[in-house]
Amino acid sequence: MKYSFWLLICFLLNFSLAEAAVLPVYERPAVAVMDFGKHVGAAAADIILDNTEKTSSDYIIEALVESGKYDVVDKDLLADKLAKEGLNTTGLIDPDTARRIGEILGVRYIIYGNLNDVTGSSTGLDIYYVGGDVHTVKAHIIARMMDVTTGDIVMAAKGEGKSKSAIGKVGKENWGYITIGTARISQVSVHNSIKKAAYAMVDKLTERLFGVRAFE
């Protein structure tokens, strides 16, 4: 009885290792994040969007790695090889290109998409001599996950990020004003909204793929 017990323990230990070596498709898939594109037309005039699509890609990679649910391959290590073959890795990617990218990078899935819009708005409230404005920047990232072996989009997700700043004002024309806060939309809010959108997108993608959220 005793021996049987110990043999069972050994069997279970070895079995757990054996099982860990063979993973189902969605249990830690190998993915590579492509360069995200951006739709600049939707942005407010006072917002600078240079490089923000690259920022999006970086934060998506960070979020995917941080979630612990994906095996993320760094595309940049083979960027030269991809470029030599003239493969488009930015924005939307066709299945043929995706297949070749998958072969070069050794991944089954690629995540690609766009920083869809970054918008800014200011809303205010004035009651008698007290008022204020809240500046909000919203960013949306839309991503797709493609199985490069079939060219099928297996999942898509959208993430929204919001960042706010505010200014308060007390006074009137004849008396003068006391103001505290940030007068206008800042570039910090733009960055923060994009980072939040990246994390929100990965959270949603993970929830749809694995049934559990990556973040709280």
Binding site: C10, D50, T55, Y59, D76, L77, L78, G176, T179, E216
Partner: protein
Amino acid sequence: MKRIFCVLALIMSVLVFGTSLQAEGASLYDYPNVAVLPYANKAAVSRELTMGDASLVSEFVIEQLLDSERFNVIEREMLEAIMKEHSFNMSGMVDPMTAVQIGKLAGVRYLVAGSVTGLSTKKSGASYSDSQWGGAGFNKNTVIANVTARFIDVETGRIVLAASGTGESASTNIEFTLRKTKLEDYDDGSYDTSGSYEPYDNTGTYDSSGTYETEGSYSTEGELVPVADTEVEEYAAADYRDNSVYETNGYAIGSSQYFAPGLYYKENQALLPLATRSVTRERKIVIGTQAFSQVQVRNALYKAVVDLIYNKNYGIIAKMDGKAKRRKV
């Protein structure tokens, strides 16, 4: 015999199990050799700032990784020596694939790649302002930098660790504004005050169109004698403009008509507003730093790198030690 067999089987299983755990951990947690690649600029830089070369961030990362005493950082010089030895192109360090090859030759297990993802400004503060007297304010100009890093296993190309950090550098100033507004008369073109003349004989005819002819003596020389100092009645019929400026504050100049406070001149005994304009003069006193500086950029980037490594919730060390918090979205 059976017992020995079982004990051996158990020991073997524990060893295999333990080794498999260690294999995952030993690489990153056992003082691995790492090389830091030059940083890239992927930031939307605020208009007030410039960010040409992000490679100084690589130096900050190397310094902090060494300080952490968790990594053996292979210096670029050493990599370059190997490159020379193996006849690699010296400029190849910017090519990650070459870096992988060099890294393997130098025994590097992980490449650290990263970028500057944000370089922004923020103006905030508190102020009081008055349109008449001026104001006072406290201004804070903050530069905020964001950097990322990812540890790439050179054997597999897999990213085993990724993190980001934020750093801020602020400068402040106190500003006082003294404002004075006054009404000033000026030549609006309708009234020539450039010449000087003396009261004239108004026996001539007067043309309502604006031309005036006189039969008497007339001179453009001498000084204008203000109406107030002369016999106004003598010139009442004439088209005469007084060079004097009258200031009224309600009922004035023997009139029952109300005049708003301001400056006036007399014309045909009528008091007409003088062409005036409001002139505001401002004097500003600023104590502190007014503009964003490159020193702030450098400091913000340095702090961002420190945050990247040591942030107790999301930093590299916290993630390696399993102490990182679950992020809220």
